[in-house]
Structure formats: structure tokens, C-alpha cells
């Protein structure tokens, strides 16, 4: 009898405290600011245009280009095989499965680097993995792959080697039989990251 009384009071009081607490959501996936700052400086998230061009030429299924520009820009020109996720709708329900996935490397790009790096920061804060950015965006792509500059005669052998390679790539992306700008590669369905590591819970 007395125990019931004491317990009732204690529970009701704690219940009151619980009821007035604000709702918080913890996510173990989210990084904190210091971790994110470290990640920014590591620059592991940058994919060079040469690497990307190679991947496209070899039809590497590991990479998925994601164009963050508005739809009109995407229709006017886009890299082969890109998926268009306009930056405004990055977190819309349609697209979250594509940026929160485990199967492929997503490579964000826009005209410059700003949008891509912003998108990367946001997805990183959310704890999504496998997202990268294309170094320098389309501008760098054009400057490097489509209109490569001939190295100066003082540059090392390596620079010339790279130049040769880029000319070859240019041939692939602009020459006859080039992949047309609208995505010819089918965009694959995303493989969502498993939210719950324990699928079978309870005692069912």
C-alpha cells in the first residue's frame, strides 16, 4: 500500500518532468562540428576531373555523377550518365535515397564548386556516406578535359604524358560517337543504407 503510494507519486512527478522536456532527436550518424572541420581539411571528398573522366570512359559502375544545377541547365548540357538532383530539392523525399546510400560513390557537380561543396557539407552533417565532389565542377571539366592546355616546354615529362591522356579523353567526350549529353546510361536504383542494424527485433 505504502509502496504503491510512493511509487505513484514518484512516477507521476517524473512523468511531469518528462512531459515538459523538449523533444530532442539524437543521431549517432551526425558528425559534430570538430569532426566536420577535420573532414573538410582532409579533402578526401574531392575527385579530380581526370579520375572522373577515366571512370566515365571505362564505364565504371562505382561512380554516379549527380548534377546539382537547375533542371534547365541540366537539359542544356550534362556529363554522361548524370542524375539531376537540383540543389533546392536535395532533401526531398525522392532524392534522399540516392544521396543516403551504400552502393556507389556519388560525385556532386555544378558549374563551379560552391553548390557541390555545400551539398557535400549538408549530407556530411546528416551522416550520409559515399558522397564526393568533382574538383572545380564543370568549369574545371571544360578547362581540363575539353580544352586542355599544352604544357610549357619547361614542364616535366609527366605533364606531357597527362596532356596526351587528356587529348585522348577529349576525343572520347567530344569526338564522333561520343556519349550524348542526355544520360544514355540508365540511372540505377539506389540501395538505401540500413537505418536499423537490427532488422529482426522484439520476439516476433
Amino acid at each position: 500500500m505504502r509502496i504503491r503510494f510512493v511509487l505513484s507519486i514518484v512516477l507521476v512527478c517524473l512523468g511531469l518532468v518528462a512531459a515538459i522536456l523538449p523533444q530532442t532527436k539524437n543521431s549517432s550518424m551526425e558528425l559534430d562540428a570538430q569532426q566536420l572541420l577535420n573532414e573538410i581539411q582532409l579533402e578526401n571528398y574531392v575527385i579530380s576531373v581526370d579520375e572522373m573522366a577515366n571512370a566515365l570512359i571505362n564505364n565504371d559502375p562505382e561512380y554516379q555523377l549527380i548534377d546539382l544545377r537547375p533542371e534547365a541547365d541540366f537539359k542544356a548540357y550534362s556529363l554522361p550518365g548524370s542524375l539531376n538532383i537540383p540543389f533546392d530539392s536535395l532533401f526531398s523525399e525522392t532524392w534522399v535515397p540516392y544521396i543516403d546510400q551504400i552502393a556507389r560513390k556519388n560525385v556532386f557537380y555544378s558549374n563551379g564548386t560552391t553548390l557541390a561543396s555545400e551539398a557535400w557539407m549538408l549530407t556530411k552533417q546528416k551522416g550520409y556516406k559515399n558522397n564526393y565532389i568533382l574538383n572545380g565542377g564543370l568549369n574545371n571539366w571544360f578547362a581540363t578535359i575539353i580544352e586542355p592546355k599544352e604544357p610549357a616546354s619547361t614542364d616535366g615529362e609527366e605533364a606531357f604524358f597527362q596532356y596526351e591522356a587528356r587529348l585522348g579523353m577529349k576525343q572520347f567526350f567530344t569526338g564522333a560517337g561520343a556519349v550524348s549529353s542526355s544520360s544514355s546510361k540508365q540511372v540505377k536504383k539506389p540501395v538505401p543504407r540500413k537505418k536499423k542494424k537490427m532488422v529482426a527485433g522484439g520476439c516476433s
Binding site: C13, A33, I40, E118, T174
Partner: protein, 176 residues
């Protein structure tokens, strides 16, 4: 038990007090984010956090006390060249306590790096972390050095935008 109500009342007070003390223990993870990614995304879409270099020049020449220019490059780069009146907060130490006075005050802080990408990233990070009144200088130190120091400034005025396509799409397509 002569006066049971006093005991009950006492119990209620004790439990409530313990409960409230308990909740005040909320661990303040040192670098916890204060703004959700979704909220920040909306701010980025609005893109109101950029400061045009020409407006920045006006602010500097007016010696406007409400603005602080924050150079987030490393000290060597800062010594080499920096915008007049700027303070140096190297980005890798942006969260350190010694820099809080520079970043947490009522003034408007304008971040810049060599270009705008790193400054934009640090802007995002600090905004997520809860700092306010931050802006990003478009073009950063490189653009500043090239365009803002010349005498016939307003003749060569060109808008800086990292997201502007610098190549002619039709040319690329035509060569197909």
C-alpha cells in the same frame, strides 16, 4: 503519521527537484550542431550569405565599424597578403576558444579564403555550430588582389560568381 500530507508534499518536492536537476545535466557535447541540415539547406537555397566584393570595398573605405573581415587562410598566406583591417582565424582552428571573441559578437563577420569555397564551407560549419551574422566574401583574396586594388576599378567591374559557366555549351556541342 500525524500529518501525512506534509510527508507527501515533501516527497513530491524532492522527486521533482531531483528530476529537474537530473535533466539540467544535459551533456553539452562541446561541438554539437545547433542547426539542422534541413534548415541550413533552406538558407543556402536563399543564398543571402554572400557579400559582393564591391560592396566590401565600400565598407572598407567608409571604415564601417560594424564589419570585421576574417581571413581563414593560414598565417603565412595572411602575412603575404590580406585585406586591410582583416583578422586572421586559421580555418583548422576556427572552433578554438581563443577565436570565439572574433566570431561571436554583434558585428557582421565577413569570411574569406583564397577563393570562396573554403570560406563557404567554414561559413556553413560555423552557422551549423550556432554562430550568427556571418557572411562570405565572394571571390576571396585572389579576386580581391586581381581586381580590387587597381586604380580604374569601376571600368573593369565584373561580377564574380563561382557558379557561372565560363564556357560556351554550344561550342562543345557543335564539335560533337
Amino acid at each position: 503519521m500525524k500529518r501525512p500530507y506534509i510527508k507527501i508534499l515533501g516527497l513530491i518536492v524532492v522527486v521533482l527537484a531531483v528530476g529537474l536537476i537530473f535533466t539540467s545535466l544535459k551533456s553539452s557535447k562541446k561541438y554539437k550542431f545547433n542547426k539542422s541540415a534541413e534548415k541550413l539547406h533552406a538558407e543556402l537555397v536563399a543564398a543571402k550569405h554572400y557579400l559582393d566584393p564591391y560592396k566590401a570595398l565600400e565598407i572598407i573605405s567608409n571604415k564601417d565599424e560594424n564589419y570585421i573581415f576574417v581571413d581563414i587562410r593560414n598565417p603565412r598566406e595572411f602575412d603575404n597578403f590580406h585585406i586591410e583591417s582583416a583578422v586572421n582565424v586559421p580555418m583548422q582552428r576556427a572552433l578554438d576558444e581563443e577565436y570565439i571573441p572574433y566570431l561571436k559578437n554583434d558585428k557582421i563577420k565577413v569570411l574569406y579564403s583564397n577563393e570562396s569555397i573554403k570560406a563557404d564551407q567554414i561559413w556553413l560549419l560555423l552557422t551549423q555550430y550556432g554562430y550568427e551574422n556571418l557572411y562570405v566574401l565572394q571571390g576571396g583574396a585572389t579576386y580581391w588582389k586581381e581586381n580590387m586594388l587597381s586604380k580604374d576599378l569601376f571600368k573593369s567591374k565584373s561580377e564574380y560568381d563561382d557558379e557561372k559557366l565560363k564556357f560556351d555549351i554550344n561550342k562543345v556541342k557543335a564539335s560533337n
